[in-house]
Subunit: 254 residues, 2 copies
């Protein structure tokens, strides 16, 4: 079953200014849409880059205020990174998955397994600042959906996205770290395929595929932090994105 | 830098009949496009599901002809699968990555790390048949591009795609197992971000993101095995998809 039988349209939302702590992301998105003559439609998925949500929520740490503890100092030697950054990363983590020179992969308090616990020092508010992932990206997505519905009467599904690296394959891909309004994991296991046989193990990460589609119009360098994906027939749900996290018990690579 | 500054359009190619060994995939795609009043445009990316390419190329094994060897019999006990299927999987593999009841993850002769070496017994030509990955998916993509260019004068980029599962996250996503015509890995490492800082480690798997976008209109059950992705500004290249394979030396999960 196709989720977009008539095709898909992915539009960049341009003209969103640099976000500051305390900013209202819903308002910034809607203003940018208004300025470009676009409107949200029922059924749209709004994809917003994690970075702008984190900045707006103030999920920012001034590295100059950080005194690395012993664990951070020791790990910093292993991974050859700034001990203050390592201290912040470990503070966001429940478990270290891999640590070798240049690489620190952890499991975050959210349950994400990713490099540096998603902590970003490349695209910061200024020198010496680190941007964390939002504390609760599902809540961020839900709030964004609610605020937009209140302001416009249209209630889009929302994805908060970030680019994660992967084992085995080069290059990052955009994934959904928070969702609101739809079922993120499409379960086709009951369906029959075109030879009439029942599909056995076909769970598709719709949310991650939508995030990846959006990334193609958003780019990496921060100028286009949001996109609209139009044409999907998604199942409505308030469940959030937790179903996208593989149960550690069923994970052979943790 | 956005790869699709004006947005992206993803269209399903409907009306492709069930593919048989020896079929000309280019011809089937073009006939389906003609019947639906669509045309390929310069700059389009044509995404075709691995299954139809494999079927057309005859990459099919009749399990009734397979006598599992000792290694297959032993592994079949471990993973609790049909020893004949395990024999086929091991024949496609250079290395076993993980084997536990219900799960057999290997590295294929192509260099892909995936479940069952990509061997598919769910959507087969009939009972007891297994579909392998194409022998050389880059060549399949290149041939498809060439044949279409010859027939139409338009030379689309081509992706042969398959859905792979991942560690850490639930649900499969569609990835590019073969490419032709474009640079599959976008290297933004020289660019500066919106605060003027140089990006350090931003390689984006454009090919996998395009495959994922296409999957949303293609679905899982085989009825729509191809899609057109329109609006991307990709760098032309004949390099194929090998750059998407992480060097085992740089892989901490193999």
């Amino acid at each position: 079953m196709s989720l977009a039988p008539k095709g898909l349209n992915v539009r960049p939302i341009t003209g969103i200014p640099a976000v500051q702590p305390g900013d209202d992301v819903a308002e910034l998105v809607l203003s940018a849409l208004l300025a470009s003559g676009e409107t949200l439609q029922q059924g749209d998925v709004l994809v917003v880059a994690q970075k702008v949500v984190s900045k707006a929520e103030g999920a920012i740490v001034d590295l100059n205020t950080i005194t690395p503890d012993d664990a951070a100092l020791k790990m910093a030697e292993t991974v050859q990174k700034d001990p203050r950054i390592v201290h912040v990363i470990l503070g966001e983590s429940v478990r270290v998955i891999r640590s070798v020179p240049g690489v620190l992969i952890t499991e975050t308090h959210h349950g994400f397994v990713c490099a540096n616990a998603g902590v970003d020092t490349s695209n910061s508010l200024g020198n010496g600042m680190a941007i964390l992932l939002p504390r609760d990206p599902d809540r961020s997505a839900r709030d964004l959906q609610k605020h937009i519905a209140k302001k416009t009467g249209v209630s889009p599904s929302v994805i908060i996205s970030d680019t994660f690296n992967r084992p085995w394959r080069e290059g990052s891909t955009n994934v959904a770290i928070g969702t609101s309004g739809f079922v993120p994991l499409d379960d086709a296991r009951g369906e029959t395929d075109d030879s009439g046989e029942v599909l056995r193990a076909t769970l598709v990460s719709v949310a991650d595929e939508v995030a990846s589609a959006a990334q193609l119009v958003m780019g990496e360098t921060g100028g286009v932090p949001a996109a609209i994906v139009r044409g999907l027939k998604l199942s409505a749900s308030n469940e959030g994105s937790k179903s996208l996290l593989r149960d550690p018990e069923r994970d052979l690579f943790r």
